[in-house]
């Protein structure tokens, strides 16, 4: 069995997601590495037939695969295991196997199929009852079952797209055992992950993608420093000057012990100067967003902010801006004016629409929103929606909690958003933001918190830190 990927290219509008990618695999577990937007997912989707590339061919055992056809990819033996299990949660495991079976004979022998599946499960030492409902299993077990289902349907190449993001350690270990055995049995595995420690543990070889290009193929033993330097491209951002400021007051972050990685020594309580920008860095799928939200809702952990002299903090001191603008941030069927009206309701019971109108118009100008007060939110572009969220910031001294404030925005919009955010530095208690982009974290933060998975690996003022360490911390390397 071998797979050969030849000259694959794919662009979305002006963005080249894949550029002339060539790759040949014969056996083993192969990692696809790269930062967000490097083109890993696009490549995976092209191989599994979900996306039609602009150019290029794929061959399996020297037979050309019909591109853009998931059915043909499956027939040729390509199986994809998604990040979230894509199974039928209401069916039993046996039933979900029956649905996926690729045969046209209506008079199939159920008992024969059953014993075949049981044998497969025994071979891979997966101990779940075939009659149990899929939704009674843990995510890890579901992924294991899915893996075997792909195998049962004749997969010879299995692609795993960040399979362990929701796994416990124990589940991960069992999954890895299964993967090793599959590899021994001659199945090629492509392993897509951000987590370098996992890649080091299980993969035999790796390809690193950057900005859509395959920049390097490497084999074990891996050199972590080299991988990091190749993965994270250094790009220059026009820096925005923020005025130097000197604020006397501080505030305190008290971390819950459970949130701190127990292998590193971090003190639980940190005093930080007011007006600081605190960047929470983490890879996609890590909990850095959750920490941002948690300061506001306290539903994730008991990590909390306190003011000096035990001054009380009210909920209205926080302004929380979620990454999901339409899902959790704004009201798609309401217009701009109504949003401004709504943000007044925490201060007043009767809304004076004339005042709100005046305020809304001036905010639209100030934040350069390309819309008027009667525009519905779902008519606006992502960048404009983001500006609307920023324009709704309360006028009072606040803690800003910004989840990935520039997610999905191009570099120009992102810079403008940051200009608006940094204007608040002089006045606010603090500005927290999360990002998966190390350059953004490095550029704008005064204090950097690094998160790997659920755990906080490091918290430090920027001047005491080196940029390269952040990549290590968030990849789980101490």
């Amino acid at each position: 069995m071998n797979i050969e990927i030849k000259n694959i290219s794919k662009s979305f509008g002006s963005i080249e997601a894949n550029k002339n990618i060539n790759l040949k695999l014969k056996s083993g577990i192969h990692a696809l590495l790269g930062e967000n937007g490097a083109g890993k997912s696009t490549l995976v989707k092209i191989i599994s037939g979900q996306i039609l590339p602009d150019e290029g061919n794929i061959f399996i055992d020297n037979n050309e695969v019909i591109l853009g056809s998931p059915k043909n990819s499956i027939e040729k033996g390509i199986g994809l295991l998604n990040q979230d299990p894509l199974d039928f949660s209401n069916l039993s495991i046996f039933e979900s196997f029956l649905i996926g079976i690729n045969e046209k004979n209506p008079y199939r022998n159920i008992n024969k199929i059953r014993s075949k599946i049981e044998k497969l499960f025994n071979n891979y030492r997966v101990t779940v009852d075939l009659n149990s409902k899929t939704n009674s299993l843990s995510i890890g077990e579901r992924q294991q079952v899915e893996l075997l289902r792909l195998l049962y349907n004749g997969a010879k190449l299995i692609i795993l797209d960040e399979p362990t993001s929701a796994f416990s350690l124990e589940q991960k270990k069992r999954m890895f055992d299964t993967l090793r055995q599959l590899s021994k049995d001659g199945i090629i595995i492509i392993f897509v992950s951000h987590k370098l420690d996992e890649v080091f543990e299980i993969c035999d070889s790796a390809s690193i993608l950057r900005s859509g290009k395959l920049v390097e193929n490497i084999i074990q033993p891996f050199d972590s420093n080299k991988i990091l330097s190749v993965m994270f491209e250094k790009n220059e951002i026009n820096s925005i000057s923020s005025k130097d400021f000197d604020r006397k007051e501080n505030f305190i972050i008290n971390f819950s012990k459970n949130d701190l990685n127990n292998q590193v020594q971090i003190s639980k309580s940190h005093t930080i100067k007011q007006g600081s920008v605190i960047g929470i860095a983490g890879l996609q799928g890590s909990s850095n967003d959750k920490y941002i939200k948690n300061f506001f809702t306290k539903e994730f952990s008991s990590t909390a902010i306190e003011l000096e002299n035990n001054k009380k903090i009210y909920k209205t001191f926080f302004y929380y801006m979620p990454a999901d603008r339409l899902e959790k941030g704004l009201f798609s069927d309401m217009n701009l004016l109504e949003h401004f009206g709504l943000s007044e309701t925490s201060r007043t019971n009767i809304i004076n629409w004339n005042d709100v109108k005046e305020k809304a118009n001036s905010k639209i100008k100030e934040f350069d929103i390309k819309a008027d007060i009667t525009s519905q939110i779902n008519e606006l572009s992502g960048g404009n929606q983001q500006r609307v969220m920023l324009s709704l910031m309360p006028p009072d001294k606040s803690f800003l909690l910004l989840e990935q404030p520039t997610r999905g925005l191009d570099i120009n919009s992102a810079n403008k958003i940051w200009e608006m955010i940094l204007q608040r530095k002089e006045k606010d208690y603090a500005i927290f933001f999360s990002s998966t982009d190390i350059d953004e974290i490095w550029e704008y933060s005064d204090v950097i918190i690094s998160v790997s998975g659920d755990e906080i690996m490091n918290i430090e003022y920027k001047e005491n830190l080196e940029k390269d360490f952040i990549a290590k911390y968030i990849s789980g390397i101490i």
């Binding site: 506001f296 979620p322 309401m334």
Partner: protein
């Protein structure tokens, strides 16, 4: 405050709807002109007919108003029937008490009807918020429970002297009837209640924090916390208000329409109001008008039998045709095109 463009579109849609009804009636071999004339005569043709129309308009308009609150909060308040029924039970409780022959009785009845209706709505809200029971299921269930309670009361504790039939309780003492002006039987009181509640609601929905927060809750419950309020609280508010207003509709049924408690006390007006609010897409002014049209249709419909020898069910057909063609037109957005054409012609 008043959206002229919206009103124009609605009026054009109303006109198109009437044309569709017109042709539907022709299909049945009935003269549409005669039907329309009978309905107008039957609902507004005399003093007593106008009074009957008002008495039917009251529960329909109030139930529609109630539903505007719950629909705003994104809730399908199917339990509106039960809330009307429980309002009637509350007011019957007062009418049969020692206050039953006192002039204060109707006012106490309203108070009790609000409490009963709001409580019935609250059950749905609590089930929704605390146990995540879908409001359609709880509402439907509570409708049946309320009907059961009424029948139990009528053939049980509140049965007429010597008779246990489902014909209803004893007629209330005259003091417990809805107040009228002087010696006439004109229910000015009901009109005042309708106008007052609609006026206050129009202001609340437009100018209060409650109004905009209800709307926000109805659109996206996940974004409300960011604006420092919980959607759960406003779902409960919407049900309390809707249940209270529906309770008043129940009071009107027991103390103005029947003067007693009967098994089908709600008259199905709760379900009818759901259709009305769907038609009006929560527009408070329009539901005021459309609920009146429906009341006139119901009262005037009895004339069809007398004058044209038609079965009363033709009213159901007209109502259903009205709602369906209205909703289809709304989707097609035909009237927007027509409105633009009209504007063009006038501009030229």
């Amino acid at each position: 405050m008043f959206d002229i463009e919206n009103l124009k579109i609605n009026l054009i849609r109303l006109f198109l709807t009437l044309i569709i009804i017109f042709f539907t009636l022709i299909l049945f071999g009935i003269s549409p002109f005669e039907v329309f004339e009978s309905i107008i005569y039957g609902s507004l043709g005399s003093y007593s007919k106008i009074i009957r129309t008002i008495i039917v308009w009251t529960p329909i308009s109030l139930a529609s108003l109630a539903l505007i609150y719950t629909f705003s909060a994104g809730m399908w308040n199917i339990g509106i029937e039960g809330q009307i029924i429980m309002g009637a039970v509350g007011s019957t409780l007062v009418a049969r008490s020692i206050f039953g022959d006192d002039f204060i009785s109707p006012y106490l009845q309203i108070f009790m009807a609000i409490i009963f209706g709001a409580f019935w709505g609250l059950i749905s809200a609590i089930l929704k918020v605390k146990a995540n029971v879908h409001e359609i299921f709880s509402g439907l269930g509570l409708d049946f429970v309320a009907s059961g309670i009424v029948i139990f009361l009528i053939i049980g504790p509140w049965k007429r002297e010597g008779i246990a039939s489902t014909g209803g309780t004893d007629i209330f003492d005259k003091a417990s009837w809805v107040p009228t002006i002087g010696n006439s039987n004109f229910p000015l009181f009901l009109l005042l209640v309708i106008f007052l509640l609609y006026l206050v609601s129009a202001l609340v929905i437009k100018y209060s924090s409650l109004g905009i927060r209800l709307k926000a809750t109805g659109i996206n419950i996940f974004a409300t916390e960011r604006f420092y309020f919980t959607s759960d609280k406003y779902i409960i508010f919407s049900y309390l208000i809707a249940g209270g207003i529906a309770g008043i509709a129940g009071f009107s049924q027991s103390s103005a329409a029947y003067h007693k408690l009967v098994p089908s006390i709600s008259g199905g007006f709760g379900f009818l109001s759901i259709l009305i609010v769907l038609i009006c897409s929560r527009n408070i002014y329009f539901s005021f008008i459309v609920s009146f049209l429906f009341a006139a249709l119901i009262v005037g419909g009895s004339q069809l039998q007398i004058r044209m020898g038609l079965d009363h069910s033709i009213i159901g057909i007209i109502q259903a045709t009205f709602v369906l063609s209205w909703l289809v037109l709304q989707k097609l957005e035909l009237e927007k095109l027509i409105s633009q054409k009209i504007t063009k012609v006038f501009v030229k």
